[in-house]
């Protein structure tokens, strides 16, 4: 391990708030240089001021797929290397029980799934060539089942899990690690409107994600989450007809 967090150069996509911002802080605190990628430049600037020599703010919209290769190169060039890529971008707008709004759904697919493919394909291609590197995909327990409340959010995360699994298998003999993290409720802006009780603080979630990043499999934040969500995965589908979220 080269420093406190085991990485020297990292890209965190979706870095302006919540788990992403905490990941950036903790990686930088551990001695890593981090390219923090997000749309909201003001938040990135504020974050970068906390570790001016280690955090490089890169303003980018993950749904502008054509720009991804150039921004990826900008990140690696500014960092001077690359060990770790974390794709954390995700949106979950409030969706009413009877709402079928394609614009909202499309935005979710673009940010949660297509953006991940655009970024992680770049990372995979580079790591495959250099024969080392770690990719962390921030999925969600919401991707485990199709629920009433967030059909497209569930689908986008399920797709992301399948993509990450395929990437993991594809790169398994190349010295590249792909880890899927499935956070349960975390106290972030994303789920603030849902009012979850017992949510894990974002800094704690980030700490666990970094600690488990090199495991190269699907990971939950806590053992209790693994137990609970493994049971949920086994429940018959009709039960979710009666659960509102």
């Amino acid at each position: 391990m080269s420093n406190g967090v085991g990485y020297k150069f990292a890209i965190v996509v979706g870095a302006s708030s919540g788990i992403g911002a905490e990941l950036v802080r903790q990686l930088a605190d551990g001695g890593c240089r981090v390219a923090a990628v997000a749309r909201r430049g003001d938040r990135l600037q504020a974050l970068a001021k906390e570790y001016p020599n280690r955090i490089i703010p890169i303003v980018a919209d993950v749904s502008k797929f054509d720009e991804t290769p150039a921004i990826f190169l900008r990140c690696t060039d500014a960092l001077g290397g690359l060990d770790l890529v974390i794709y954390n971008s995700g949106i979950m707008p409030d969706v009413a029980p009877t709402e079928f709004n394609f614009a909202k759904d499309h935005a979710m697919i673009e940010t949660n799934f297509s953006g991940a493919v655009a970024w992680l394909n770049q990372a995979a291609e580079r790591f495959l060539s250099s024969r080392r590197g770690t990719i962390v995909v921030i999925g969600s327990v919401a991707g485990d089942r199709g629920r009433r409340g967030q059909p497209v959010y569930n689908a986008s995360k399920a797709g992301l899990h399948a993509y990450a699994e395929a990437l993991r298998n594809r790169l398994s003999r190349s010295g590249v690690t792909v880890t899927t993290m499935k956070p349960g409720p975390v106290a972030t802006d994303l789920v603030a409107h849902l009012g979850f009780r017992g949510a894990i603080p974002a800094d704690q979630a980030a700490r666990i994600i970094i600690a488990k990043s090199s495991r190269g499999s699907e990971q939950y934040l806590k053992f209790s989450h693994r137990v609970i969500f493994s049971i949920i995965r086994l429940l018959p589908s009709w039960i979710f007809r009666w659960i509102p979220i």
Partner: protein, 475 residues
């Protein structure tokens, strides 16, 4: 030939992530990921310079990766690999002038020339060095005191630089000794003509003298100054104990010994172990007690061996024994091999070398191997040799001892400077800008930078080491 890099600038070059490769320093102590590009003609080199200029990236020149540290590494740069530009083009059997391309390894050269009775005048401890790399590092060998450095045997070199294009440079050219020993900072050396050494036999007569004290060692070195090859292996665990070896080429007419089949040793070692698998076996000994044991064994074997008559060895087996144990440095994995090599003037070496080993012993970081050679000053602008001795210490860096080792290397560096030490960049991965100034002097560095501004006005070429030492580029 003049070139204009701007003529290539139709649109900025975009690097392809699929060309990123991880390059390592020889000792695995440092690595860099860079955009790899193989050169198969001088035109490729010029195109790479143009792409670097258009994209704002840097170019790092890379041979066969034999330097221990980061002298040919740079992350996110275009890493130009010369190893496919490697033909030996001609050998004049009358004059012994051999012309080869920059990517030719010393092995390619001797295999081409030795059957006709021509040998390289100077070789490094590995034959896997490329010609361009050897010239850029101005390599030396065990005959440094007699024959000087590699650059002193060149008739001309051809360099492709960003500022001046393709140019042939001869020893009387004012920039010759800046480029030779210039660490690839001026451009790629694409061809060179070497004045080879005539031989009638491919064997050397090797004589070992085990020593128990430093005084004994230095006395033998000075006694044998006229001998062709001189080197000493020293036990890193017991200061002063070592095996001094001298060797000279046999002058008898033995054409059969010039054949490659005679030169290349068996691919098996003791107990039938294949040499390319030996590093796996060596791993069990790559620790303090293991190396202490092997060092003791080696010394005792030399003491018991009758040394008066000497033994005959093929030139290749004598010069490059470790090349026949491929990837031996992997025995240090998952840690790394860090080498500390310093040159100390003759009068100070008898004090300095024991002091260096004492400091290592106090830090409980004894070197697994120490090698002492005798030298004369080299003519490069960034000169690294003096009239005196060099000592190379091999340290095993692990995750656990990394910080202690860095501290020790700093201590050894300061100690060396207090005895007039000079450092060799091919082995370096830890020096600081102030150390470079002390080794080379401000005047030499200014001369180096002035030439750099002519050959590479846009500062396209650099490396991690040159950034670290702030010689011609800053991080």
């Amino acid at each position: 030939m003049d070139i204009s890099l701007d003529s290539h600038l139709t649109e900025p070059w975009v690097p392809d992530p699929a060309t990123v490769q991880t390059d390592w320093g020889f000792g695995y102590s440092c690595a860099a990921e860079s955009y790899h590009r193989s050169v198969t003609s001088p035109k490729d080199i010029i195109a790479a310079y143009a792409d670097a200029k258009s994209s704002g990236r840097k170019v790092v020149l890379r041979g066969n990766g034999r330097s221990y540290g980061d002298v040919s590494l740079l992350s996110e740069a275009i890493s130009l690999d010369l190893t496919r530009w490697s033909a030996v083009e001609s050998l004049d059997k009358e004059t012994g002038i051999l012309v080869a391309r920059g990517g030719a390894r010393l092995e390619d050269i001797w295999r081409f020339s030795l059957p006709d009775g021509w040998w390289l005048p100077v070789v490094s401890g590995t034959m896997l060095t490329t010609l361009a790399g050897g010239i850029s590092a101005n390599i030396h060998g065990k005959n440094n005191c007699q024959s000087g450095t590699f650059g002193e045997h060149l008739a001309w070199i051809e360099i492709v630089s960003p500022g001046r294009g393709i140019e042939r440079v001869q020893p009387d050219h004012p920039d010759f000794w800046t480029i030779v020993g210039g660490w690839g900072q001026f451009g790629f050396i694409t061809r060179a003509a070497i004045r080879m050494k005539r031989l009638s036999s491919g064997s050397v007569l090797v004589t070992d003298h085990p020593t128990e004290t430093w005084e004994e060692l230095f006395a033998i070195f000075e006694r044998d100054l006229d001998t062709e090859y001189q080197v000493a292996w020293m036990d890193g665990f017991r200061s002063g104990r070592g095996i001094y070896t001298n060797a000279k080429t046999i002058e008898a007419d033995e054409p059969a010994s010039l054949r490659t089949a005679y030169q290349v040793p068996s691919d098996r070692m003791a107990f039938g172990i294949r040499k390319d698998q030996a590093y796996k076996f060596l791993r069990y000994f790559t620790n303090g007690p293991g190396m202490r044991f092997l060092s003791g064994l080696k010394w005792k074997a030399a003491v018991k061996r009758p040394g008066d008559g000497g033994r005959m060895l093929p030139l290749v087996a004598y010069h490059f024994p470790l090349d026949f144990v491929p990837e031996w440095q992997r025995a240090y994995r998952p840690g790394a091999l860090v080498q500390f090599q310093v040159g100390i003037p003759s009068e100070a070496a008898p004090l300095a070398f024991p002091a260096l080993l004492r400091a290592a012993k106090l830090a409980k970081l004894e070197p697994y191997l120490a090698v002492v050679k005798r030298h004369r000053p080299d003519p490069s602008v960034l000169s690294y040799l003096c009239d005196g001795y060099s000592i190379a210490l091999d340290f095993h860096q692990t995750d656990r001892n990394r910080h202690r080792l860095q501290k020790l290397l700093r201590e050894l560096t300061d100690l060396s400077f207090s005895h007039g030490g000079k450092f060799y960049l091919a082995k370096d991965s830890f020096l600081l800008p102030a150390d470079a100034r002390r080794t080379f002097g401000d005047e030499a560095l200014a001369q180096f930078r002035e030439a750099k501004s002519r050959y590479d006005p846009d500062h396209l070429i650099t490396s991690s080491l040159f950034r670290r030492l702030e010689i011609a580029d800053k991080p």
